[in-house]
């Protein structure tokens, strides 16, 4: 199978007053066409930076190195024109809060149609409108005529997210990045949006990259899980249940999923906090929060190593049971 995305040794650092924030360090990731993968981690672990780096849309104060290839096209060093062509047309992206990602002073129609026009040139008005309405239908919206002419503030949160998905898909990208697509929504709407994403993935044979802090969602959607911690990938592989996970951090994330059967719904948290991202000490980044840490973890930084076919972990003592 051909790799549609190849990331090699990707490092992104933000310059701030206090020094350098190591947002991503040495990220290696290969994604095959048509695959559904999930990138999981707590907030601040670098997963959103990774999503932005995929379309080379990181902040101006960022220093990037390594390579990111989309369909063999290197994009970290690509010029403006190339990037404009890739964004939207090869990679569609859905953001966390559709309410904030939609421009408040333009109608849904204008926002969908400007995207199509940007990539396919000026089309006849009826043709544009036909495509727009078809996209709304595909994303499962009823009352399409009204929604098409509406402004974002006139829509519900779920409708806004569906419109966002319609915009992301408007130029038929092969890759869809969904960055915490349901975080801002309430539970029932969350389930509907996730079902929609599943359906779209199948119908359009999309390469889906789901970014989430919710391992439960990730396991449900993706064949392969990538776990990130403090700007590094700490584990990658086919994980569908707790015992598949080998990194103590991944295990800990599983513990966070509230057990529906449990009588008392106590939400556990991982003790401690994500380490200071401006320092790079010679030890495991998870040291200090890890329940099974040994002295070695505090003196050396573990390498990212393959433990079996299609499964790699960054840990001296991977959990096996």
């Amino acid at each position: 199978m051909k790799n549609i995305i190849e990331i090699q040794n990707l490092t992104v650092e933000y310059k701030i007053k206090e020094g350098l924030v190591h947002a991503l360090t040495g990220v290696e990731l290969h994604i095959q066409k048509g695959e559904a993968i999930a990138i999981v981690g707590e907030s601040g672990c670098g997963k959103s930076t990774l999503a932005s780096a995929l379309i080379n849309l990181v902040a101006l104060n960022a220093v990037k190195s390594g390579t990111v290839k989309i369909n063999d096209m290197e994009i970290l060093s690509a010029g403006k024109k190339v990037l404009e062509n890739i964004r939207g047309k090869e990679i569609g992206i859905i953001f966390q809060e559709a309410g904030a990602a939609l421009n408040p002073v333009f109608t849904v129609k204008e926002q969908i149609e400007e995207t199509i026009t940007a990539h396919f040139g000026k089309l006849e008005k009826p043709e544009l409108e036909k495509r727009g309405l078809a996209l709304l239908e595909e994303t499962g919206l009823n009352d399409r005529e009204r929604i098409y002419k509406a402004y974002p503030h006139q829509l519900s949160g779920g409708q806004q997210q569906r419109v966002m998905i319609a915009i992301a898909l408007s130029c038929n990208p092969e890759i869809l990045i969904a960055d915490e697509p349901t975080t801002a929504l309430d539970v029932t709407v969350q389930a509907q949006i996730m079902a929609l994403l599943k359906k779209l993935k199948k119908d359009r044979n999309l390469t889906l990259i789901l970014i989430t802090h919710d391992l439960h969602l990730a396991v449900d959607m993706a064949q392969r899980i990538v776990v990130m911690y403090a700007g590094e990938i700490v584990e990658e592989g086919k994980i569908s249940q707790e015992k598949d996970a080998m990194h103590p951090y991944s295990r800990a994330l599983f513990e966070l999923i509230p057990d529906i059967n449990a009588e008392a719904r106590d939400f556990k948290i991982i003790p401690g906090e994500v380490p200071d991202m401006t320092t790079k000490e010679n030890k495991c980044r998870f040291f200090g929060r890890c329940a099974t840490a040994k002295p070695k973890c505090g003196t050396m930084h573990p390498e990212y190593e393959k433990v079996k076919e299609g499964h790699a972990v960054r840990c001296f003592y991977p959990v096996k049971d």
Binding site: L57, A100, I167
Partner: protein, 323 residues
């Protein structure tokens, strides 16, 4: 939308009452009021005029009756007659209104077009050379006394270079000119007053537009626009511009009091035959009815401008239009 406009229209009444109350209070409560020594000693004010003023304001009646009488007159634009030439105050204001409106409207248009241009250009290259130069110039513009600027420009263009007329609205032989010459003459007379009137406002608006634009460019939906592959020019001049210019419309209303208030300084310096100069002339000759009339009309104009700006804002901002 309808509800918003209605609410906004209803808000006029308390403001109107407020304006009349304040004006009324100034007339009646200041120690230098009509019956004071100050006034009787002023030879320009004949005892006859004082008597007429007393009747106009009904100074012998109880205070609330005086107020109501006065307001009902104001609503009919009856401010009495001038002490100086006995003509109705409103006639004198009508004569002067077009000149003031012309000067202020042209300045306002200029302020907004140029101010928005500077603000947007500074925001797009925030911290760049243009931005730095402009922030110094606008800061100086903030601090420069406009009447001094007016004097310096008059000296440079009127006295030294002799390029531009420095006073009045038209030249002496205006009546004998062809229509084209008339327009040219008027434009020449407008250049300096418009420039000076616009200068201070320009600094203010361009700063405001810049910060509004910088704020907009950091919004999530701008990142989203880039992410869907929109060209940079479209993102800045379409997606971001509309968002950052909306609040500027309300600023248009807010900048009116300063503009109209400032007109009495500029019109005096440039001998511009407008309302501001009328107020100044009346102030020097203690022509109370005219001063009160001009002040009230100026407040009305400001109120009207604010109202238009607010309604225009509601019309262009979809978040208010469709609520």
């Amino acid at each position: 939308m309808g509800k918003y406009v209605l609410k906004r229209l209803l808000l006029i009444f308390p403001v109107l009452i407020g304006i009349t109350l304040i004006t009324f209070a100034i007339i009646h409560l200041t120690p230098g009021g009509y019956t004071s020594v100050n006034m009787q000693m002023n030879i320009k004010v004949s005892p006859d005029s004082v008597a007429r003023l007393k009747t106009l304001y009904g100074l012998d009646k109880p205070l609330h009756t005086q107020y109501l009488d006065w307001v009902s007159r104001v609503l009919r634009f009856d401010f009495g007659t001038s002490f100086i030439d006995q003509r109705p105050v409103m006639d004198k204001i009508y004569e002067r209104l077009p000149a003031t409106l012309l000067l202020n409207l042209i300045s306002l248009v200029l302020i907004f077009i140029v101010g928005i241009g500077i603000g947007v250009a500074s925001a797009v290259k925030n911290g760049g050379t243009f931005d730095k130069v402009m922030s110094v110039i606008t800061f100086i513009g903030y601090s420069l006394p406009s009447f001094w600027l007016a004097l310096l420009l008059m000296i440079l263009f009127g006295v030294v270079l002799r390029w531009l007329p420095v006073s009045g609205m038209v030249s002496l032989g205006f009546d004998y000119m062809s229509p084209m010459q008339k327009i040219g003459d008027l434009i020449l007379h407008l250049i300096l007053p418009v420039f000076v009137t616009a200068f201070g406002g320009l600094a203010y608006i361009s700063r405001y537009v810049k910060s509004s634009m910088v704020e907009t460019l950091s919004q999530y939906y701008i990142k989203a626009a880039y992410a869907k592959g929109m060209p940079e020019k479209t993102v800045i001049y379409k997606s971001a511009l509309k968002n950052s210019l909306l609040p500027v419309i309300t600023l248009l209303g807010l900048s009116l009091p300063g503009l109209i208030g400032g007109s009495f300084i500029f019109e005096t310096i440039f001998s511009w035959p407008g309302m501001g100069r009328l107020a100044y002339e009346s102030a020097l000759s203690f022509d109370y009815p005219v001063i009160m009339g001009v002040a009230t009309i100026a407040a009305f104009l400001t109120l009207l401008g604010n109202l238009i700006a607010d309604i225009a804002y509601a019309l262009v901002d979809p978040r208010i239009r469709y609520r």
